[in-house]
Amino acid sequence: MGRVVVDVMPKPEILDPQGKAVANALPRLGFGQFTSVRQGKRFELEVEGPVTAEVLDAAARAAEQVLSNPVIEDVVRVADIEADAAATTASAGLA
């Protein structure tokens, strides 16, 4: 079983009211160092079998056509979640 992760964020020019509300709450909880918060969405798409180039291509199209609305959002990542994790572990010298 493979899994593709799709990250969608509000466009930079669109005011993100939810992120702003979170940003306003953080200092009240002692997290004063964060100057701004933007809130997006993460989708995990599962497939039978491995994540092939075709699967990634289909996920990218789904991301553009359904999972995001290009008027207000950008698709910032479409990636094989396992491959990403392995790469991160390797680069951290933990593999």
Partner: protein, 232 residues
Amino acid sequence: MATRIGVVTFPGTLDDRDAARAVRLAGGEPVALWHADADLHGVDAVVLPGGFSYGDYLRAGAISRFAPVMGEVVDAAGKGLPVLGICNGFQVLTEAHLLPGSMVKNDHLHFVCREQELVVENASTAWTRDFADGQHITVPLKNQDGQYVADERTLDELEGEGRVVFRYEGVNPNGSRRGIAGISNVAGNVVGLMPHPEHAVEAGFGPDGPRGPRTGTDGLGFFTSVLHALVG
């Protein structure tokens, strides 16, 4: 024979009964249309009412766009069928690409429910011809994701082509760009707005009006407009 106006019900639609009632009070015959039925049953116009279709999951109106009935609505709208999207229905129309732009969460983050004054900026659409350009009307407004957004070029186009049909008057209740409350497509047969005309169609139940509390019936003009447009 009475003009037949379809009112679509999606799972999570709330205002379909009120919309049907508004059609009846205006003198039309409401026809219930079902989201899963890819058939408009020969109606002369369609209303997409308000509510939280499919729970507003993903984005408001995003999943409704793929309902079987919407394929028919999009085709028919392209051929000139009058379509009115109210609140969630407006969101569905933007997701279906029948109208430009989109709605995001209100700038103040709160659900807003108020009697809202609007200016009719284009009284030549299928849904506004019984109004006059510049006329002030008051209808209820109730939304969480009502902030209309579009890029500057799209906004300039809408303004230049007279497609800003309604603008908020007095107060901008949700941070909408340029105070836009409702827009139309180029042909003027498809109109979407966030406020709710179907809740201001009968004295005793609407907003306060010049004749006293709850006497406002400014919403009725939307429904008489389309009946006149179809008969005329």
